[in-house]
Symmetry: C2
Subunit: 348 residues, 2 copies
DNA sequence: CCTATAAATAATAGCGCTACGAAACTGGCA
DNA sequence: TGCCAGTTTCGTAGCGCTATTATTTATAGG
């Protein structure tokens, strides 16, 4: 019996490789690779041959091989507390749009407001040698800060300014200022006392900052102010619950100004006020945060503070692409304050 | 002058490699690799040595190298129309949670309801040799279907059932049925005529299916029904606009049943009705879809149809992990109907 | 005490691509 | 025609890891 020839090794694993394309196009693999990275560096003839071969074979490059060889990958890690949060969702959508022309893809991680999860997520994401890392907030564990700094990967901290010094780049605004602006606005609407309603400030540091700014400004204005927080997430339902607590505790005051940590809570206040037949903005002026889609159509239309979540996304993309292109942004220009705007409508 | 020794090649590029860990732990690189993939296959002594070395050196494995060598990567591609859509956001959040224990990360893509974008996204995502691909809907271009099938990557189509035959696995529900259920519910509330309000059905195929189901069922029930659509996205503001169109065209009818393609539109109807002093549910019964967070707290509380977006996410994760574990799901069990529930509140 | 068998570890050969330098072409112009 | 500079193409050597096979070490049995 003839000993059968055993093919020693070879785990053919990918359908069509760059080598196949090269062979079909009648050029070397190097040329194919070059064509992908810089089409202009290749003659028109070779370029067309490659293009045709790619189409014929339906070739898609193996990003992992490319990433390994070049020690960089076309992914941008994005780590946010929760994607269900409309703010982050908007920013991510706009970030992605900005990243698109550079063919960078988003790798998503959610911390669920847990810093140890953030730690793990940063570590894993870093192991993809991402082109950049985008994280929400500037409040990170020492380990994470260290890891981030040591990695050499461009880091953009978003949605928060004014707290810790940014590690690298930052795009956002100061939430204490937002709170203060809300308090000032309510004061300007002849409110004699203020309250701030929020959900789980123990986890949501940015909501906590807004509360802090609100209360500090109230004090500076000489207005009595109270803070009602609840460990549950900041939802419409919670808005109703908190408003009832306000009624229970300040039921016989009028000209109360209510600042809400976001529009969901404000919406809950609106609904509950309607149920309880309280007058808005007569007895209770209500101010939201976020300028979510429903704010302008609510009845009465909700006064709120508009952050620019989409701008945060697009500016973040701009910074990342700029850094990639080797544009030497000075430190000054890579911290971008996107600001916010007080939008007065009918509830104040 | 002594000729300087030129180190030929060597692009040292990663801080700490597996080789460094091996050296420090006093074992071979193979053992380190083995330890990561299957800790039990390594002796306690070697395991501890590796663990310590990893900690000391703050080592993070290079996923691209691993992925290249093993021809598979720990990422799950997720392609949805828009992450700003609360439905998809919820599903993605829950999917991520389900994927977490397997250390699978999500790579996100948004089509913005553009099929050619979907095509491109599928192609790029595939080039990461993902552990699985999750796409919204079952309506894909022929090229995409072909690509997906040929790739051999597990595919889960989510949020839609009842249209095209799924390519591989599917988790969702039938949107025509949702529309029909809404029509039936309104009929059961003594409505004499029905309308359906929606935004951009030309793009959102699932909303189109709901509309279709609604109108077909109305016909079957012998009720007159009209469809008001608008090319703009389905927002609260649009709800108000559409409701005004309804008033203009059926202003003197009473007992009208309004089905909305989602809760945002329904909310807009509620607000506009309040402004126009129309009685809900007296003259106009309103039915939403989504059971979004605000639905139960609205005034009046919004009747709606609740999909189970979180279940879609967790079931999708379950299918992916099952497939990975090599559990041979029959075709039957890998199409999961998560159903929906009619939630009656005060607006009907 | 020595062999048979299992368990643990190590050596080897790529995975598919990119970076780099070398080779092979151009096309002037002396 | 020959030679040089510039352009285009190609060959080589890895990137850091995994899969597989080979080797060593521990365990047991006669």
């Amino acid at each position: 019996m003839a000993k059968s020839e055993t093919p020693r090794k070879r785990r053919k694993v990918q359908g069509v490789t760059m080598m196949d394309v090269a062979e079909r196009a009648g050029v070397s693999p190097s040329t194919v690779s070059l064509f992908f990275r810089n089409p202009d560096a290749v003659s028109a003839k070779a370029g067309n041959a490659v293009r045709t071969a790619v189409r014929d074979l339906n070739y898609a490059p193996n990003r992992m091989a490319g990433g390994l060889a070049s020690a960089s990958s076309p992914v941008v890690g994005v780590i946010v507390p929760s994607i269900r949060n409309a703010f982050f969702a908007e920013t991510i959508a706009s970030l992605q749009r900005g990243l698109d022309p550079a063919r960078l893809q988003i790798m998503l991680g959610q911390t669920e407001y847990d810093q140890s999860v953030e730690d793990a997520l940063v570590r894993t994401t870093l192991s993809w040698a991402p082109a950049a890392l985008v994280v929400a907030g500037t409040d990170h564990s020492a380990a994470t800060r260290q890891l981030l700094k040591a990695s050499g990967v461009p880091v953009v901290e978003i949605w928060e300014l004014g707290g810790e010094t940014p590690l690298d780049m930052a795009v956002g605004f100061d939430h204490r200022e937002v709170g203060a602006a809300a308090a000032r606005h309510l004061a300007s609407r002849a409110r004699r006392s203020l309250v701030f309603l929020s959900g789980r400030v123990h986890e949501d540091k940015r909501a906590a900052s807004r509360a802090e700014g609100f209360l500090a400004e109230a004090k500076a204005l000489g207005l009595p102010a109270r803070h009602f927080d609840h460990p549950a997430p900041a939802t419409t339902e919670l808005g109703g619950i908190l408003f009832n607590r306000v009624l229970a505790e300040l039921g016989n005051e009028d000209a109360v100004g209510i600042g809400c940590s976001n529009d969901h809570i404000a919406l809950g206040v609106l609904f509950e006020a309607q149920r309880q037949a309280r007058s808005i903005p007569g007895d209770y002026a209500v101010m939201g945060f976020g300028d979510l889609e429903f704010a302008s159509s609510a009845a009465p239309a909700l006064s709120t503070i508009r952050p620019f979540g989409d701008v945060i996304g697009s500016e973040t993309a701009r910074l990342i692409l700029g850094r990639r292109a080797g544009l030497e942004d000075t430190d000054r220009t890579s911290i971008i304050d996107t600001g916010f705007r007080v939008v007065q409508r009918q509830t104040t």
